[in-house]
């Protein structure tokens, strides 16, 4: 392990540089205020950090979908993928909270949300969902930690309530993913028509599901490569198909919305918004569909990986477009994220990847199946043979 730590690979060096820069930027942000540390302004009050928050939650979509599939719909074959996706979602939500602390004007007053309630506010719903769902994710992930340290008693207690936790988790995710889209419902006059729609909550929910599956593929591929593990190719290619189904649904409803609400002409206006829209749908929807809809490609590990990267990149672009691109025109201003905003965001991404790697290395994240099989082997198979 020590030798491993001292070995400097290219990505390790990049990571260390980014985190160092990020720490410096963080100190700068909290000592100099938002004026000097961000490109935000009165006419453009939300920027890169808000965009980051939106897509980090979107990328967490695998957590609740895989939980639903394995622990609620009882489709046992996907169980090996449940833990990595819960871990991924947990990390994404923690990153959301970190980004929020940078973005809030008065981060020390964040607890106000717990005692000062406004039920009319979507942001209030978002805040409570984040608090509760992050707790739920921790409880969902706890067995992995408890197993590692052989804390059987606590493990038993958690397993007893796990179904309730899982159901609450799926419900909170449904509320939270969609409500991030609802945040923008109140600015119909400010948003560019290609992104504004009364169906924004549905878009956000569906794309979180499609992207969540892609993230599970991406995470599995990366950890298989890093730790030399085998890849659950059959399972992952099934997830690719599920992802494609939700992508098709997204295409259908988004373009139907354009047709019904007379927005089709905006698809061909030669302005920046149009280019970014097409980039978003080509990367996030059409290219991955071409890959995932063909069995030969989605069962090929390289293509499967490329497809998942495209879906994730498309979702990131979609969240950035929704929260930044779509609001620029009416704000009559420009927004250029500052070097501090960029470096803090990159630091958060690096820390997220690092946390995932660390957890996979030291905790039984990908080993649950083997453990489960051992347990059932002893519990059921033995008397059978006898």
């Amino acid at each position: 392990m020590k030798a491993n730590l001292l070995k400097f690979s290219f990505w390790k060096v990049v990571g260390i540089i980014l985190v160092t820069a990020g720490v410096y930027s963080s100190i700068y942000r909290f000592t100099h205020g938002l004026q000097e540390s961000t490109g935000l302004s009165d006419t453009f009050p939300w920027g890169l950090w808000t965009g980051f928050k939106l897509w980090s939650v979107c990328l967490a979509g695998g957590g609740f979908t895989l939980c639903a599939i394995t622990h609620i719909f009882n489709i046992e074959q996907f169980k090996p993928l449940a833990r990595p996706s819960i871990l991924m979602a947990f990390i994404c939500y923690l990153l959301f909270i970190f980004a929020l602390l940078f973005d809030l004007g008065k981060p020390l007053d964040i607890w106000h949300v717990m005692i000062m309630w406004n039920f009319n506010s979507v942001m209030f719903e978002v805040a409570w969902c984040v608090m509760l769902y992050t707790t739920v994710l921790f409880l969902e992930f706890a067995p992995t930690i408890l197993e590692r340290f052989h804390l059987t008693k606590t493990l038993k207690v958690i397993k007893k309530v796990s179904l309730v936790i899982m159901i609450i988790g799926v419900l909170l995710s449904t509320m939270h993913q969609s409500s991030l889209g609802s945040l923008f419902l109140i600015v119909p006059a400010k948003m560019y028509p290609l992104w504004y729609s009364p169906l924004l909550p549905v878009y956000f929910y569906f794309s979180a599901i499609a992207t969540g599956f892609a993230m599970v593929i991406f995470g599995s591929y990366q950890s298989a490569r890093t730790f030399g593990r085998g890849l659950q190719l059959t399972l992952l290619s099934k997830l690719a198909l599920y992802s494609a189904i939700f992508t098709i649904a997204l295409i259908v409803i988004r373009f139907t919305d354009f047709a019904v609400n007379g927005k089709l002409q905006y698809l061909f206006v030669p302005v920046q918004e149009t280019y970014l829209f097409w980039l978003e749908v080509v990367i996030g929807y059409f290219l991955p569909l071409i890959i995932f809809m063909q069995k030969s490609l989605r069962t090929n590990r390289k293509w499967l990986y490329i497809g998942s990267v495209l879906v994730v990149a498309g979702a990131m672009l979609n969240r950035m477009n929704t929260s930044i691109t779509s609001l620029l025109r009416t704000s009559n201003t420009t927004y250029n994220p500052s070097i501090y905003e960029v470096s803090i965001t990159l630091m958060l991404v690096v820390l997220g990847i690092f946390a995932f790697k660390l957890a996979v290395e030291y905790l039984p994240v990908f080993d649950e199946v083997e453990l489960d099989e051992k347990v059932t082997d002893m519990g059921e198979a033995l008397p059978d043979e006898a």
């Binding site: 909290f30 000592t31 205020g33 938002l34 004026q35 000097e36 935000l40 302004s41 009165d42 006419t43 009050p45 939300w46 639903a68 622990h71 609620i72 719909f73 009882n74 489709i75 046992e76 809030l104 004007g105 008065k106 981060p107 007053d109 106000h112 949300v113 000062m116 309630w117 406004n118 039920f119 009319n120 506010s121 979507v122 942001m123 209030f124 719903e125 978002v126 805040a127 179904l163 159901i167 799926v170 419900l171 449904t174 509320m175 969609s178 409500s179 609802s182 945040l183 419902l185 109140i186 600015v187 119909p188 006059a189 400010k190 009364p198 909550p201 609001l327 009416t330 704000s331 059978d384």
Partner: protein, 257 residues
Amino acid sequence: MTKQKGLLFDSTLCVGCGECYSACKTQNNLKKTSDDCMKDHLSNETYTVVEDHQGNFVRKLCMHCESPTCVSVCPVGAFQKTELGPVVYDADKCIGCRYCMQACPHSIPRYEWSSLTPRVRKCIMCSDRVQQGLPTACSEACQPGATIFGDIEDLRAEAKKRIKDSPDQYFPEIFGLEEGGGTNVLVLSKAGVSFDQLGFASRIPKEALPELTANVLEKLPTVVSTGAVFLGGMYWLTKRKNEIRQEKLNNDKKESL
């Protein structure tokens, strides 16, 4: 019921003297930000400005919506629509998410970006004065009577009357009558000069904007309860299905033995 107060700004009467601008600064203890009010813009130290749009003078300030988006979107309820009409803000509650700034259809709230404990800043329609039965500082300072203070019902009637009496002098619409469900600040413009040309936000729907999110939020209890029943039901069904399959497998095994 107490009568709501409001402001009527008639841009045909405004001479651009900037007395409202100065009075506002004094009333709210705001720092001096510019020598020429015409060159200033709304900021954390400026609640109202007078703008020159090709010789047409127009004031910008918080519109004090009847159903304010800032009040509805604030997660901690830092904004409040008072009984008398002014929309006020409590900095002690605010956590700084800036959703109010993003959501405001008129893009009015400003932020103390350089502060380490920043506040949102905007016109509060001299709420303290109004409470005491006084007019706002800006309307009191306005010599030509371009900004007048009064009961909102009276002001609406007055605005309509002015347009009706001199249709050749006024643009035939009142900004603030229906925008986003109506506002407590009304604006009249010169004939031939639309509100777009005066720099007001266009495309604001007629309905109260908070309804757009309320429509979604009110569906939540249904979504959550049906969701819980669906998920619980699915769990029971799929588990039973797996059990039956397992039993069948076991039976088959026993038979083959």
